[in-house]
């Protein structure tokens, strides 16, 4: 059974058809890419999967469970983590708090525990903190744990966002243009990091990119959409030579 199954996904914003009849079977362990020009509907697909919007039509199954109608935090708790195209960290909180809060769904103690500081509360909080620090350690961010996020440089904020997504204990990680705003050197490092995360955390990864160049190297399979329609699907080489893709990207930036 595929990890993620999307059938006939369609979404309208008022009269605007942002996504049309999108289909996908994502197997466990895959690393795939979704590309398309500006406004093609890529981010909307992520928003539909994570429950930020409710699709006009179609169904989405994750690990056999229907996701339609679930609230975003429930979907996240089922094992789908994501990052955002424009960074959406909780800016005035510390790095550590950002990571801690992302483990909200794993909390089992109740309010009363948190108010009375019961044993259960202390144990769980200790565990959350330990795990957060370990995650930060892995990304060499531990020394920044108490830094307020807003004070970090852009690149580190991107990393913190990935760590935060991992803190939700995902099985599928959705990355929305992780390379946006990075220079070629940083992009190379990022791609290595992504491959490493995939192995280390045993993840299935789906990356949105706007620039084709970025994911050609690491994705096994790529889907191309334009104006909400799927216009191509295949290995990087197939995509690179597909005439419809070339046409969609003509005047954009080429290869």
């Amino acid at each position: 059974m595929p990890l993620l199954q999307i059938n006939h996904l369609t979404h309208f914003f008022g009269g605007l058809r942002a996504v049309h009849d999108f289909n996908l079977d994502l197997e466990k362990g895959e690393l795939i890419g979704l590309i398309g020009p500006n406004g093609a509907g890529k981010t909307t697909i992520f928003n539909l999967i994570t429950g930020a919007y409710r699709p006009t039509q179609g169904d989405i199954r994750f690990n056999g469970h229907n996701l339609i109608g679930l609230r975003p935090h429930q979907i996240t708790a089922k094992g789908i983590g994501r990052t955002f195209q424009t960074i959406r960290l909780w800016n005035n909180l510390s790095v550590l708090d950002n990571i801690r809060i992302a483990q909200f769904a794993q909390i089992k103690y109740g309010v009363v525990d948190s108010i009375l500081h019961t044993k259960r509360y202390r144990e769980e909080e200790k565990e959350i903190e330990k795990r957060s620090l370990e995650l930060l350690e892995v990304f060499n961010l531990r020394h920044l744990a108490n830094e307020v996020v807003a004070n970090l440089p852009y690149g580190q904020q991107r990393e913190v966002e990935i760590v935060r997504a991992l803190a939700t204990k995902p099985r599928l990680l959705l990355l929305d243009e992780p390379a946006a705003g990075m220079n070629p050197g940083e992009i190379d490092a990022l791609l290595k990091l992504i491959q490493w995360i995939r192995r280390e955390f045993d993840l299935t990864i789906w990356i949105i990119e706007h620039q084709m160049r970025v994911i050609m190297g690491i994705c096994e399979r790529i889907k191309v959409i334009d104006f909400g329609e799927t216009i191509a699907e295949g290995t990087p080489t197939e995509i690179q030579t597909n005439p419809r893709v070339l046409k969609a990207y003509l005047g954009e930036e080429g290869f």
Partner: protein
């Protein structure tokens, strides 16, 4: 010479909190023995209630136009200077002398005790000094309890407006629910009343049930809080402000329309409840419960917002959509925040009603809500110690400025506007007191290494 102020500052900074509290206790003791004599001696005519501010301002002549005001200024000034002498002699000197002398012994004493006991001793000392200070002039005790009520109101509103970043301006509505529910219950159960008849329970129960009834009032208010929590799923910002205001108005109008509890005329009889309680055991019940109420509020809200679960509240403020997408159950969190917040508003209401002895729907209007807002913003959003400070300062100022009559209110609102213009982050700027002075330095926590705790915190 330039070294002197710094050295004084350093010396004062090393004095533990408990020594200051003991100093204040000593000062109140001195005042109760010598205050009246000294007041008569220097021409104040007795013990000045609020450090002489109220008494000097009451010499202002307000009803004879600007000329009257100007002509009365010299007498205001003279009284004020005399009162200042009194304050220095009775408060400032004793506090600092006692605190300075006790500094070392207290630090040693505190370091031998477990932390919970240290905290307890602080609380008892604070309570005793408030009690002696308030006992001297009855009006003071009332103000001390108002301060307590306002601390509860402010911290609980801060949970919504500061930590969660929503804009609730109907906090007085929840206060009203708590006030009415608990008053009706106590009056019905423990006093002879025109409407509710003879007391239902024997007097002895009043002492035991009083805190429980306060909690019942709080729960009633918390249920009303749901009226705000549910709309907050869909709307935020301006619209939520509108919802909260209308809930405030609805609660007020609803009470006005219930004849049985006095309708617009109000409800009384709570003084009788107090008499019943005092007949069982003559201790300052309300002061005790207000004090405990404040402590519980502070502990609950502090513990909640510093837990991971409670930090969901702050995540909502920072970015609600990201919070929901990053596994925070935002609805659940909002319901929690609103119920906790309105629960404590209800508790504050119950205490307030019994302190005042009389309530009417007009007490719990948007004015009262806005006063709570002023205190929240004055103290700084998202700062509990800020809320405590501002509630104290604000309430004292309001009482001290009472002789200014309506113009006092003009001053408050002007203060609010200026605050928004020039210091939006409030007194504490979103920080806690402990960000400036460590608990070790205050002597509330044992220093990690023996000597290090004595060093002034690095700036």
């Amino acid at each position: 010479m330039a070294q002197l102020p710094r050295r004084i500052r350093e010396f004062l900074g090393r004095i533990p909190l408990l020594a200051y509290l003991l100093g204040f206790l000593a000062a109140t003791g001195i005042e109760s023995i010598l205050g009246k004599t000294l007041g008569l001696l220097i021409g104040l005519g007795g013990v000045p209630a609020f450090f002489g501010i109220t008494d000097s301002l009451s010499r202002l002549v307000l009803d004879k136009g600007l000329g009257g005001v100007l002509l009365s200024l010299p007498s205001v000034f003279i009284y004020f200077v005399l009162a200042l002498v009194y304050d220095v002699l009775i408060y400032i000197l004793p506090v600092f002398i006692v605190a300075g002398l006790l500094s070392r012994p207290v630090r040693w004493f505190v370091s031998t005790l477990p932390e919970w006991l240290t905290g307890f001793i602080h609380m008892v000392t604070l309570f005793l000094s408030l009690w002696t200070w308030g006992g001297l002039v009855e009006y003071r005790l009332l103000v001390v309890m108002y301060i307590g009520v306002n601390i509860i109101m402010t911290t609980s509103l801060n949970l919504i407006n500061g930590y969660m970043g929503e804009f609730s301006c109907g906090h007085a509505g929840f206060m009203a629910v708590g006030a009415y529910v608990s008053s009706v219950l106590t009056v019905w159960l423990f006093t002879q009343d025109d409407v509710f008849g003879a007391p239902v329970l024997r007097a002895g129960w009043s002492v035991i049930l009083f805190p429980l009834i306060l909690v019942v009032g709080g729960i009633a208010a918390a249920i009303m809080g749901l009226l705000v929590a549910f709309p907050s799923f869909k709307t935020r910002g301006d619209y939520l402000a509108i919802v909260t205001i209308s809930v405030n108005f609805i609660i007020k109008s609803a009470i006005e329309n219930i004849e049985k509890i006095g309708g617009p005329r109000g409800f009384m009889g709570m003084k009788g409840v107090l008499r019943t309680m005092e007949s069982v055991l003559n201790v300052p019940w309300l002061l005790i419960w207000t004090f405990i109420g404040v402590l519980v509020t502070l502990v609950v809200i502090h513990n909640f917002v510093s837990s991971t679960k409670g930090k969901g509240v702050v995540a909502i403020r920072e970015d609600e959509i990201a919070a929901e997408l990053m596994s925070v159950n935002t609805r659940h969190t909002k319901i929690l925040a609103f119920t906790i917040s309105s629960f404590f508003a209800g508790i504050a209401g119950g205490l307030f009603a019994h302190v005042l002895g009389y309530i009417n729907p007009g007490t719990f209007t948007i004015f009262k809500s806005t006063e709570s807002l002023v205190m929240v913003y004055l103290g700084g959003m998202g700062s509990i110690s800020g809320s405590v400070l501002s509630a104290g300062i604000f309430t004292l100022a309001m009482e001290a400025l009472r002789p200014l009559e309506v113009w006092k209110k003009v001053l408050i609102w002007l203060l609010l506007i200026l605050l928004m213009m020039f210091r939006r982050e409030g007194i504490m700027g979103g920080k806690e007191l402990t960000d400036f002075v460590s608990l070790e330095r205050l002597g509330l926590r044992r220093p990690v290494k023996e000597v290090k705790g004595y060093a002034p915190a690095a700036d």
